[in-house]
């Protein structure tokens, strides 16, 4: 009947779902701070609008589905989705872009699948992938690392105009630079990697900015691990596999491949490993399954980065593995106590269960 609960005994792990989500939000702060510091107000306008849209859409969907609104909103899960999508979009995205992304995330990926806990796919990544496919233009316009306060920083007013959708695409294009992964992806065939980097293909400070952002996400990830909000299996398996594949590729062709460190810190790998892939609802569930799942994401990210059309690939890799998660679960069940071997596959070996 279990009348006692761990939350009476103050363990490290937060004992309620709302608590889990709160810690998730808290852990995004270093990453958000670093992003804002390097890329300016646009990060905050993204987040602010995504949050408003997220909560509004969640409330509307709950009402439509006849679920308790305020009690469910209090689980903070819509806010988490909003934050994850908000930081993934190019800073200073226009409101309609964010709104479309949030509709795809909250309405389609989450509630049409039955709400929190039932979604097959990671909502934030569904939103992101949809935007990437439908609006490749605006989605590739990352501003340069002009900083929040520096001399080159874009003033808040301009960012707001951009958010309102009043800035033309040409102006935007002129203002933005490529992300490191993007730039490297479009490196001319003839150029060796060394020559490419020597030619300053990126706005000044971009590489450093991306590294610092990645390290800030790592700090947040460490917090999540310490609080046991997430398990170590997925991030370790994902980053390990990613590094391994990157090392193999690099060792095979150092002049045309990015170094493992470049792949680890140059894009969304760290953020994805700790904040996206670990989304418990859409990931594999068993500990062993999580290892497989994380490894699959790491391998897919590298496969798409190396051979696909998209420079970064965390969103697609995660979605593909979301799709595979139920199968992984069937094939990675631990050996149950009292059984000679683990059961594999979908069919039960009939009759062994009770007698």
């Amino acid at each position: 009947m279990s009348l006692m609960h761990a939350d009476q005994t103050a363990p490290r792990r937060p004992a309620s779902t709302a608590g889990v989500m709160r810690w998730l939000l808290l852990a995004t702060l270093p990453g958000i701070a670093a992003l804002t510091w390097h890329f300016g107000w646009g990060v905050l306008t993204n987040l602010g609008f995504a949050a408003v849209a997220g909560i509004g859409l969640e409330a509307a969907m709950l009402r439509l589905r006849g679920r308790p609104v305020s009690a469910t909103l209090a689980d903070n899960s819509a806010l988490v989705t909003a934050v994850l999508l908000g930081v993934a979009l190019p800073p200073g995205s226009a409101w309609w872009l964010i709104l479309i992304g949030m509709v795809a995330a909250i309405v389609v990926a989450k509630h049409l699948y039955g709400g929190l806990g039932h979604n097959l796919f990671n909502p934030a990544m569904v939103g992101y992938a949809l935007l990437l496919v439908s609006f490749p233009g605006p989605m590739s316009l990352w501003p340069g690392p002009d900083g929040l306060l520096g001399p080159e920083a874009r003033p808040l007013g301009e960012t707001l105009r951009q958010f309102a959708g009043l800035t033309s695409l040409e102006t935007l294009d002129a203002l933005s630079g490529a992300t490191p992964l993007d730039a490297f992806k479009h490196k001319p065939e003839a150029l060796m990697a060394g020559e490419f980097w020597a030619g300053t293909p990126l706005p000044e400070g971009a590489l450093t900015a991306w590294r610092q952002v990645a390290l800030a996400w790592l700090a947040g990830g460490a917090l999540l691990l310490y609080k046991r909000v997430i398990g170590w299996q997925i991030p370790v398996a994902m980053l390990g596999t990613l590094s391994l594949v990157a090392t193999l590729l690099y060792a095979g062709n150092p002049s045309h491949q990015g170094s493992p460190l470049f792949h680890l810190l140059g894009g969304a790998a760290i953020f994805g490993a700790f904040f996206i892939a670990t989304d418990p609802v859409s990931a594999a569930t068993s500990r062993r399954g999580k290892l497989l799942y994380g490894a699959g994401i790491g391998a897919l990210v590298m496969a798409i980065r190396a051979a696909g059309a998209y420079p970064d690939a965390v969103a697609f890799a995660v979605l593909l593995m979301n799709f595979a998660a139920p199968f992984i679960d069937y094939y990675s069940e631990p050996r149950v106590f009292g059984h000679p071997a683990a059961t594999r596959g979908i069919r039960a070996d009939a009759g062994e269960e009770e007698r």
Binding site: M1, M4, H5, V336
Partner: protein
Amino acid sequence: MAERFDFPGGITPPTRKARSTRAPLRTAPLPRRVILPLDQHAGAPAEPCVELGQRVRTGERIARASGLISAALHASITGRVAAIEEHALPAGDGRRGPCIVIEGEGEDDWLTLPSLDWRQAPQATLLERLDAAGVVGLGGAAFPTQVKARIRELHAIDTLVVNAAECEPYISADDLTLRHFAADVLEGARLMARLAGAERILVGIEDDKPEALQALQAAREASLAEAMPVEIRPIATRYPSGGERQLIKRLLGREVPSGGLPADVGTHCHNPGTLRAALAAVRDGVPLVERVVTLTGEALARPGNVVARLGTPIGELLHFAGLDPRALHRLVMGGPMMGEALGELASPVVKATNCLIAATRQELPDPPPEQPCIRCGACEEVCPASLLPQQLYWFARGREHDKAERFHLFDCIECGACSYVCPSHIPLEQYYRAAKQAIRAQRREAARADHARHRFEFRQARLAREQAEKEARRAARKRAAAPAARRPAGGDTQGTAPAADLRGLRIAHSAATAAERKAEKALARAAESGEADPASLDDLETQLATARENRQAAEARLQAARDAEEKPA
């Protein structure tokens, strides 16, 4: 201390035992009136064998065991049978059931059985005594001890495990039993070990009971002259070490197979209170009419352990322990993890009542509302059966029973460790229990149709057995009448090729024996699970009886063939 073996998962909730272990064991006042449910053990309910108004003495049998798995019931006070009626039972669902109510005289007039020497008495006598004294497992499952001891007839038992882990928070009945009666417990263990044919006794005790451990060690020192070796093994405190399977794994490294019994890995597991009761039944001839009950919880002014007569109304005992009714928020029988919340203070103490918790609101608060599963995997980490509780929950909730079984629903021991850690406060094990019940109900429906067939098969088997025995007798007579007759060449019941026939009969005989063993185990398991209804037990008993008939028939045929073989000329 490093342990060689361990079970997976587990949790370490606050034990909250100190409250009930500070006071020494007390004897509760003799109740004026007792209510004795007929169904307070695993298996079929007992059948009353007293009449209304009849005077009964303490220890006198008032209901007899019915069926293979059942236990007798005895008057726990001296007085008159006031009623045989439906009464509230100490169960979470508030169910009612037939009870014998005895109105006491205020005096204890004991009726005991003759004392037996367990070292000398034949096994059958000892088993009969355990049966007659109504001894059942006092750890909570209330499985008839005599039946458990009999299962061994088909298994080789090498180790008798004394389960003194008492891993659930609050409960300290075994702890106090050991502190006061360690020598009796060990002697009871020797008795049961002898019955089981075990070579050694292994006591598993969690290390949060230093006094009990000390008492055990002293008792062991004092009885070193005995032949049976006793080993006392303290283990680190972790829930659910006291689960039979978990303890056996931890002590011996053996895994009871899924759907199997401890006997399958050569062990019998008994709890200290049971061993003491078994010894009392044999050595002193005292039937099971009282037990040690932990009375605890913050709504009690004088918590502690008491020796209480069975049938004592729970409210009376709690009153004795200083219950503050205004502070009482929740009454639990058993522990806070696996126990049941009771609604009725009027329901009685039964054989399975190891602990009563009168908790205040702060102490065991109402769980917050259940939230969706976020598949964080916390439950998986603590599951002692290595299940995937999050998957089971999914399928149990969606009534996808075959998938739930695919993920080994029936290996769940309902320990509640998963619920304890679930951040979404999902009462997981309640879902599992409901799913199991639903599946069992479906199976019962299917079995009902089978039952008629099983009865028919039983009659056929009996006829076949009688026929086989008759033929065997006839053949024997024929041989006796014509000892010099030539070995028959044909036309005999043995057929034309006796040697090959003998082999076939031997195979048939071992197959029949195996079938009997299987039927016996199926019955024992069903009864031990505590969830089988009388009808399905009845069906299993019919199947077992059929298997017995078949085995006897095979035996008779085999014997006849052997005789024919031996003296053909």
